[in-house]
Symmetry: C2
Subunit: 500 residues, 2 copies
């Protein structure tokens, strides 16, 4: 871990944030662009992170009674036609399957053959097809609630893609529930947002603002969309999860009816909620520094890397035995239920080895050289503290306190991001100051400002500044004020920001 | 659990095995046909089984150093053209994406628009695209081995489909590894078959025969294909997993090269191996009886269902408290690492309730009525013993011995299937007897017979009897004999069977 004047990632965040992001992803070996337009290859280091995220969320879903299921990849075109709003929403740019066979063409190459009578769309969401099943499975109030979730790949044909943030194919979960009463469905909508909040804050260490979308930012067809919004280090917002109360709208278009206890036919009340691999992009942009990704320990693909330093070949055996001994003891422990994952990297590639792990964002690195071994110690660096803070720690203490060290890193990441979010959230009351704030070079952040409730004002701000109302925060207190756009009276501040 | 003269599934296995299978699947609520041709909806009870199978296999894979990754859903057409054998193998019948947008057509409906310059195929396997990545990631011998696995959905356009056994879309895992030496790749091929064997035998309780495929039954492009074959209750074989040693063939077509320690460029040695949701069909056909599915406890979606019997409304509270108390104690225990999953079904739907759980195949059912409670006992039925054997068990004993009971069921299922396989495996030495055996009404099974090694003999038997060589068993001993087809000398018996 020799000195290095420059940082590992170029450009830095300050120099060019979007380019920094691309470089960080590449250097972390988490994912890369594939030869297929707009689709990514998620490499083992990135996929292990996703697996940990899935495991944590999945357990939380199941604790609330949700069950997983799997629905077909393909959606018949006629399903999309049934729901005009649905198509307007996101189904227009999608992959369309028109043939089911390949034949040798005239030039010897392969050509599509076996034209389908009805084209199939690769699911941009499974909403319509899950709706059809729910309708089939629901006869009586006794069949409700139905609490379903699906982990799957979906495709939305994107013209400009960025790994994790916007790709044509991505991995996600979509939850769909049907209930006998409005109250129960509304409770479920909030409960799932609570689950998302807990997951994002405690596992991804990303502080969020919770609130309600305005009518124009709502999910197509939803009566109410609630969300969590996080702040990236360029001070833009990223929506980290949404939960929708769909009223009876979706039940009506999908014919989800049931007989109530009085033998009367009623439409069910439904909800849906989702998160995706996009969260990984958000996590990277929340914690990463100019040396690369920083993985929160709760979801990190591995917790600790041991880096034996073998200067003389005759020391190898001794140092490797010492290293393996430490690894075995660490692996016998658990951190928040998950076995501590230890990597040992004994490649003889000089300083590149250490920098590779820095860029991958592993929470703890421990060098083990002949001198460390002689002192029965290891030389420890924690990823959240930059590359300068390192220290010798007695072997036994290192092993015994590893959970506390990981917890400290996890907490530090959250606290740091929370401080950043707070420092970059402002109350602004004057239109001039508001416009100046978002037009100033290099400025940005969350602004809590008054809004009269008019869609025109919302649209004006969006048009002028590319700033949107991210949400009406749940904790926004009632107070008298004037709309930042039209100056008319307003009783509550909303959260404005530029956004991903 | 009143008397029921008839069985729950009609027709019985003996009456019509294929129809029995369909009914069993339907009645188990594991999966159903979807409105999309050839695609299934995997319902919560079936998907939870798959999740348990995935978790068990995934852990075993990772213990051998394999890492998961994710590759694009779409394969460019040109990739398939590169590998003639690949296309011949399985890529001809596939879903072809030709457009990336939907537009309103003249009649107001949606029509495909935005024609792609190069059509994309929905992956029938990710082999070619994983090969491309491996080529990119491999420079030096230090980059090897690469040990990858992917859990994903794949599509092969099937004309005649059967849930789990053959569907256009199915879920699977495909492992792909690249090595610096032939020896290492061959070891990996066998090691993954060992993993499959262990999983299928210990978790699915399905005894298998391990062996090598003949040249004509090999995976296209493979140097060697080894497999595990299981026997269904109609005495046909079902291939439950395959592992392929690809030599340098695949590395050559995908350009996976590396510089060895002597700085010489070499092609890597690769393997691939896979299993799919088809295994679920195999599991059902191995253990199911005329009352429905029987779930092996190791992978069962739930282990125990408690069925409170509430005859008088004033007893409800007391009986439910008693039931919940038992559930809590059971849920505090683990069976082979997994928390014991307990369902409580207090629906007031008469005998249908019990039969529903029988058909779903839950390992243990326990009724709890006022009299049971008064005796501080429960009335226990184990699914593997048919519907007749039930007995009262003291509550405490029931809770304390639940793991032993589950293990006993697991072992019993395996032993029963093993006895069945053994009873239906025969050595036959005469062509006449061999032909009679497979032509006799209602007969069938595995036949260990001599084979001279000629593809012509293999083809003749297949042509005449629709019987194939499932494998050359590893444990088939060397002995002098005569080919069952041509009478020429042979030194080893092979495993013949009709197959799924």
């Amino acid at each position: 871990m020799g000195k290095q004047a420059k940082n590992a990632i170029s450009p830095s965040r300050a120099e060019d944030y979007p380019m920094w992001y691309q470089e960080v992803v590449r250097e972390s070996q988490m994912a890369e662009n594939s030869p297929v337009r707009g689709c990514m290859v998620i490499k083992p280091w990135g996929y292990a992170l996703w697996e940990n995220m899935v495991a944590a969320m999945d357990e939380m879903f199941k604790e609330t009674g949700v069950k997983n299921a799997y629905f077909p990849l393909f959606i018949p075109l006629s399903y999309l036609e049934k729901e005009a709003e649905h198509v307007e929403g996101f189904a227009k740019e999608c992959a369309v399957v028109t043939h089911h066979r390949l034949e040798s063409g005239e030039d010897g190459g392969l050509v599509p053959a076996g034209k389908l009578t009805e084209p199939l769309v690769v699911r941009p969401t499974s909403e319509t097809i899950i709706g059809e099943s729910m309708a089939k499975w629901t006869t009586s109030y006794r069949d409700l609630p139905i609490l379903l979730n699906q982990w799957a790949n979906v495709v939305r044909w994107e013209m400009r893609t960025r790994i994790f943030l916007r790709t044509s194919e991505f991995l996600w979960q979509e939850g769909h529930t049907a209930h006998a009463t409005e109250e129960e469905a509304r409770e479920r909508t909030m409960r799932m947002l609570d689950v998302y909040t807990e997951f994002v804050e405690t596992c991804l260490a990303m502080p969020v603002v919770r609130g309600r979308k305005t009518a124009s930012e709502r999910f197509p067809g939803a009566v109410d969309t609630i969300c969590i919004e996080a702040m990236m280090q360029d001070r833009k917002a990223l929506q980290a999860g949404t939960s929708h109360f769909l009223g009876q709208n979706f039940a009506k278009s999908s014919h989800i009816t049931f007989q109530n206890a009085d033998k009367q036919e009623e439409y069910a009340w439904t909800t849906s909620w989702g998160t995706s691999t996009r969260m990984i992009g958000g996590m990277i942009m929340t914690h990463g520094d100019d040396d690369g990704v920083i993985m929160p320990p709760r979801v990190a693909p591995a917790h600790v890397v041991l880096l034996p330093i073998i200067r003389k070949e005759e020391d190898r055996r001794k140092i490797m035995d010492y290293t393996n001994g430490i690894a075995d003891l660490l692996r016998g422990k658990r951190y928040h239920g998950r076995k501590i994952v230890v990597e040992i990297d004994d490649r003889d590639i000089g300083g590149a080895r250490n920098w590779e792990w820095v860029k991958k964002g592993i929470p703890v690195r421990a060098e083990i050289g002949p001198r460390d071994m002689a002192n029965d110690s290891v030389f420890v660096a924690r990823r959240d503290m930059g590359t300068k803070e390192k220290k010798g720690v007695q072997r036994e203490a290192f092993i015994n306190t590893i959970e506390a060290l990981l917890d400290d890193i996890q907490t530090n990441l959250f606290d740091r991001a929370k401080r950043f979010q707070k420092a970059n959230t402002h109350e602004i009351d004057e239109a001039g100051a508001f416009y100046d704030f978002y037009r100033e070079e290099g400025a940005g952040g969350f602004v809590m400002a008054h809004w009269c409730g008019s869609e025109t004002c919302e649209a004006t701000i969006k048009q002028d500044l590319a700033v949107t109302i991210r949400c009406i925060p749940f904790d926004s207190r009632t107070e008298q004020g004037k709309c930042i756009c039209c100056n008319k009276p307003s009783s509550r501040r909303v959260l404005y920001s530029k956004a991903y």
